[in-house]
Amino acid sequence: MNDMRIVERTVSTDTAKMTARRAQVYYGDNHALKDVDVDILDKTVTAFIGPSGCGKSTFLRCLNRMNDTVASARVMGEIKLDGEDIYDKRVDPVVLRAKIGMVFQKPNPFPKSIYENVAYGPRIHGLARGKAELDAIVETSLKKAALWNEVKDRLDAPGTGLSGGQQQRLCIARAIATSPEVLLMDEPCSALDPIATAQVEELIDELRSQFSVVIVTHSMQQAARVSQRTAFFHLGHLVEYGETGQIFTNPKDPRTESYITGRIG
């Protein structure tokens, strides 16, 4: 644990982008997430940490209603985006997901060209009025994902032909092309090598200036490196939530301390 660097960063805003109150998730009869209360701040990187099966990914998937695609999942409680309940009957999850983008554990580029991968979101949401605008969106997104220089000469090449790290950055570019307000990342580096991981982490830090980023990670070092706020989940409970520095140096809950020092997990 001696390599754990806690980067002192200021949290830029205190306005809550998303709020969760008494959020519950059931998979069939299995109560996977219990009474979670979290405020996710705007323009901040929030990390969810905890041992496997603790509910951190489950909670992440609640935030853009990806759990809707799992037939047995039921979500209860209240989760709000900008004060509006995202589980309200009138909310179309499709519109919600355009505002809350997601990047997955394994890079999953579509079997299409790099250009088409990035253009996919803007196309289905009708964000561009013509080819020139679409080109601009693709270019901006790839630049923001720090991939533009590597792929600008082969935008027509298949996205599946890139290296693992490039694929993941492509997926990030794809997600930010729809101009989301929140970006959810589910262990985005777990399938990547250290160099690619470093690139993606650097990228996450840059993205913070525009979106609120929520990242689920298995690695405490990563949480410490990229996040300003950290939530620790254990057995479906949110155990502790606070500033990253405080969680790692001065945890209030003994379970958090045990996890950080490597006794559980």
């Binding site: 037939a71 999953n108 996919y120 794809r174």
Partner: protein, 486 residues
């Protein structure tokens, strides 16, 4: 001795060999089985296998060779003018065979012995009448030379039959004796039996190869015969199909290929959209309960034999289309039509397309769908823009397989498409297909060696090549597709 009896005897010998072999092995070590290399029953098996397998093989080979031997031997005794009178040696031989069988029956009924049969004379013992009594109806009175040939046929076939019995039983006994002599405590009986079994297993798996070889050989051989009698150029390039009983037929391939393609096309137009959309609905939208009911129900369609579809086309769909669509629109008044056959065949192919596509759509990783949903795509957008493009090669493979089935389908077109070979665009007209003509040319009354019959083999070869090409192409595409996601 009949084949069944010989087989029984050989099996009996093998069983006996089993016990003797086991006995000998045990007695050679004074009943202490631990001193044997293998378990005692393996010694028994080694004898049984050596008894039965070579003998059975000899018998099978003999049964295949015997008719040819018999024919050539007897055919050489028939005078040339008899052959000329019937026009064809195979027709004469058919008569000879029937008379020879009839003689057996006559002899059995009248209690004649061999000498009595020899004494039968065509001219004064009213052979035709006596044969008719035992159920062998002949078109004309029995000719002396033919009767002689028939008698020759009987004696020769009897001696061949006897020869077979002797040789087969001898083979069994020699095998049994050889294996029995070899038994000693040191004999590696288990290895021996296992090697033998292995050879049997390999032999069985070669039957599949032999089947393919048989198909290709019989098709190519008879097609070659056909091209001796009818110019290949006309077969491949003529646009008329007009077989005649008395020769001078036009046997052009194209009207049949056109009919085949037209029917297959319509069937795919029906089956592909319905099958594909059903697969998409069942795999992406349907609740597990609906999927569990609808999928097996649809697959019932695949389990129904094609004769059922044929009858459906003939008695229900054909008249329905004629009375409600073709008739009122003035497009035709035939109940068998390309549309009838195509529509019904399309129904048959729905489950075929849907279950193949279902497999392929399910093979698209969930991560692809998640990626799309995560970007805010609706389910239909995900299906149309991500799942289908990703599954496209596999779906193309499935469609090719369905096409190959449509082209090779026989009963539906025989009963639903009609028999008129023509190049027409009107789907409500009767047209015919390659498979229909294979059936009609091979079940007709024309003699076998005429081009009108042999053309069926050329058609069969064409059909075989087309479907094989489609299948291989489809398999390659599907295999490549699966590798992509494994």
């Amino acid at each position: 001795m009949s084949v069944g009896l010989i087989s029984l005897i050989v099996l009996g010998l093998a069983a006996l060999g089993f016990f003797l072999g086991r006995q000998k092995a045990l007695s050679s070590v004074k009943g202490d089985a631990r001193l044997l290399h293998s378990l005692p029953s393996y010694y028994g098996w080694s004898v049984a296998l050596f008894t039965a397998v070579p003998a059975m093989l000899v018998m099978i080979v003999w049964l295949f060779v015997q008719p040819t031997l018999l024919e050539t031997q007897v055919a050489s005794t028939i005078p040339a003018e008899n052959i000329a009178a019937s026009g064809n040696i195979s027709l004469v031989m058919a008569d000879v065979r029937r008379i020879a069988d009839g003689l057996d029956l006559v002899a059995a009924r009248a209690g004649l012995d061999e000498a009595g049969i020899d004494a039968l004379r065509a001219d004064f013992s009213d052979l035709r009448g006596r044969l008719a009594e035992v159920g062998v109806a002949l078109g004309a009175n029995v000719d002396g030379a033919i009767l002689a040939a028939a008698k020759e046929y009987r004696t020769y076939s009897n001696s061949l039959r006897l020869g077979m019995s002797v040789v087969v039983l001898l083979a069994a006994l020699i095998g049994a004796g050889f294996a029995w002599m070899r038994i000693s405590p040191d004999l590696r009986a288990r290895n021996l039996v296992e090697q033998f079994t292995m050879a049997l297993l390999i032999g069985c798996s070669l039957i599949a190869v032999a089947t393919t070889a048989g198909i290709i050989a019989s098709l190519v051989f008879e097609t070659w015969h056909f091209f001796q009698l009818y110019p290949a150029k006309d077969f491949f390039f003529s646009l008329t199909w007009n077989p005649q009983f008395r020769g001078g037929s036009d046997l052009g391939l194209w009207p049949l290929v056109w009919g085949t393609m037209y029917v297959s096309f319509i069937s795919l137009v029906v089956a592909v959209p319905i099958g594909l959309m059903a697969a998409i609905y069942l795999s992406e939208y349907a609740s597990p309960r609906m999927r569990a009911t609808a999928k097996p129900l649809l697959e019932i369609l695949a389990g129904i034999p094609s004769i059922v579809y044929g009858l459906f086309a003939l008695v229900t769909v054909g008249p329905l289309l004629r009375d409600w669509i073709a008739g009122p629109l003035g497009l035709g008044n035939s109940s068998s039509s390309v549309m009838t056959a195509g529509l019904v065949m399309g129904i048959m192919l729905i489950p075929y397309v849907s279950s193949l596509s279902d497999d392929i759509i399910n093979a698209v990783p969930q991560a692809m769908r998640d990626g799309s949903f995560g970007l805010g795509a609706t389910q239909s957008e995900t299906v149309k823009r991500v799942v289908i493009p990703a599954a496209l090669p596999g779906i193309v493979g499935a469609i090719l397989l369905a096409a190959s089935r449509a082209i090779g389908e026989t009963m539906i077109v025989v009963m639903g498409a009609g028999a008129a070979a023509q190049l027409s665009l009107n789907p409500f007209e009767a047209m015919t297909t390659v498979t229909v003509k294979i059936v009609s040319q091979l079940t007709g009354d024309t003699e076998f060696a005429s081009p009108e019959t042999l053309v069926a083999f050329a058609l069969g070869l064409t059909l075989f090549c087309i479907t094989l090409a489609l299948n291989v192409l489809a398999l390659v595409i599907v295999r490549k597709y699966r590798e992509q996601y494994e």
